[in-house]
């Protein structure tokens, strides 16, 4: 179980995230949606152990992220926003670096690496410098880095951002393939991605959870079943509504 309890973070006097609480069970793929600046990345960073909350706790399969950070991080694969990578490395050396830093043995690493490369379809660029890769390949290399060690929990910040429709299709299929028995939390702007991939939707706006239900139930709040209409109604600010 991934369990967030009262997660709060304040930036320079302004509330970034306020009392965010939810639980995700193994096998669930949760779409974490919200407008820009709603607090999605802040929440994901607090789960991944890269940003300390002011209040609240995060538990990953029973391990508290902030009292046993390394234990919890060992259970997670995290794709940060914008998929940062080391440009001077190749995907092969990058994955080898991440796996060795995570304690995989020299014997385990080639197998784990080829499995991750196959899943994310980066085998043909494994030995090219990351610097010269397209945005789509870079995103997939970063995704391979997040899942290379076969973690039971995946935290993905906009995994299909920058991918073309075919690559998005492959990534969505991959997420569905990985979902049995795993906890997957995906932050995304793309509501169609939530409909296609997620079993549950959590909407965050102004740092607070506004909805937590299945994508079908969420869409059913509109007469015509338009998910983006419901999203608009729940997240729009008065000044935006006027325009």
């Amino acid at each position: 179980m991934l369990k967030l309890d009262g997660l709060t973070k304040t930036y320079a006097g302004q509330r970034g995230v306020s009392s965010v609480s939810f639980e995700v069970a193994p096998g669930e793929v949760v779409g974490f949606v919200g407008p820009n600046g709603a607090g999605k990345t802040t929440t994901l960073r607090m789960i991944a152990g890269t940003l300390e909350p002011d209040q609240g706790t995060v538990q990953v399969l029973g391990q508290d992220v902030w009292s046993n950070r390394q234990g919890a991080q060992a259970l997670m694969g995290y794709l940060p926003e914008h998929a940062p990578l080391y440009d001077d490395m190749t995907p092969r050396t990058y994955l080898d670096f991440l796996l060795s830093a995570r304690g995989a043995t020299r014997k385990q690493r080639p197998e784990l690496m080829s499995q991750a490369a196959m899943r994310t379809q980066i085998e043909d660029v494994l030995d090219r410098r990351i610097e010269g890769l397209s945005k789509g390949y870079r995103r997939r290399v970063a995704l391979a880095g997040a899942l290379a060690h076969n973690p039971p929990v995946l935290i993905l910040d906009e995994p299909s951002d920058g991918l073309d429709p075919n690559q998005k299709r492959v990534t969505r299929a991959l997420i569905r393939e990985l979902s049995p028995g795993r906890i997957i939390l995906i932050s995304t702007h793309q509501l169609d991605e939530v409909v296609h991939v997620c079993s549950r939707l959590i909407l965050i706006a102004d740092g607070q959870v506004r909805a937590d239900q299945s994508p079908a139930d969420f869409a059913a709040q509109d007469q015509n079943g338009q998910i983006d209409e419901v999203f608009f109604r729940l997240t729009v600010r008065p000044d935006e509504a006027a325009t």
Partner: protein
């Protein structure tokens, strides 16, 4: 403990590979080797002294390091923060101390290799006359420790800022102060407005003061303790600043 060393080795090797593939690292090494030898001959009068010794070569190391070590360390953390890869590093189940130590040791390894490339000068002088080999080896040891101390200051500056330029300037300023505090001119300036014991204490905390024994071929426990303390302080500050990045916006 095993996890610590696994992650230490992974980051250490990555840093060394990065230096190996970075043309700037070669420019940096070439600059040090040529500048140190040029200064020894042109300014230090290595030949004119008429003695087979390398004091004229080692005496410029503190001043060269004041500029070169901040340049070597400025990218270490600020670049990770700028490109966002710090987020990847911080998400690994790795103690902050392992990350800090690995990056420092990789930079120190490069600095020691750079010093190693000047040994042909030592061999050349040895052919001209009897060199005190023990004293020269001691001076090299001192130079390695001195480089480590400057690098630790540079690492802390790099962790404190996202800008490489700002990191360089901070490290340069701090290193210059830590070096110049031992100069008679600076001591006498301090003496004009500070009590004498404080002036003497400041002068005794200078890198120049700690390095002077090594230059003469003398290993002083006090000087070793000083360099190790500067390194420990620099690395603790680096660790604090890296951990601090978990507390706020990138």
């Amino acid at each position: 403990m095993m996890a610590f060393w696994n992650s230490f080795l992974a980051v250490y090797q990555r840093e060394l590979r990065q230096d190996g593939s970075n043309p700037l690292a070669y420019v940096f090494v070439a600059s040090f080797v040529s500048a140190s030898i040029l200064l020894a001959f042109q300014v230090g009068g290595l030949f004119e002294a008429g003695r087979a010794e390398l004091v004229a070569f080692f005496q410029f190391h503190p001043w060269l390091f004041v500029v070169l070590m901040p340049a070597l360390s400025m990218r270490a953390w600020s670049d990770e923060a700028r490109t966002g890869t710090l987020e990847t590093l911080l998400a690994l189940p790795v103690p902050t101390a392992a990350l800090v130590l690995a990056k420092f040791m990789a930079a120190w390894t490069l600095a020691c290799l750079m010093l190693g490339l000047t040994t042909p000068l030592w061999l050349g002088i040895s052919l001209l006359g009897p060199v005190d080999q023990g004293a020269t080896l001691t001076a090299y040891l001192g130079s390695c420790l001195l480089a480590g101390a400057y690098l630790a200051i540079g690492m802390a500056a790099s962790a404190a800022s996202r800008s490489q330029v700002l990191s360089f300037v901070i490290a340069l300023g701090a290193s210059f102060l830590a070096t110049a505090a031992g100069l008679p001119l600076v001591s006498s300036t301090f003496a004009a407005f500070l009590p004498l014991p404080l002036t003497e204490t400041l002068a005794s905390l200078s890198m120049l003061d700690a390095f002077s024994g090594f230059e003469r071929g003398v290993i002083e426990a006090r000087a070793i303790a000083y360099f190790l303390a500067v390194m420990a302080l620099g690395l603790c500050l680096t660790g604090l600043w890296v951990d601090n990045k978990r507390g706020g916006p990138r």
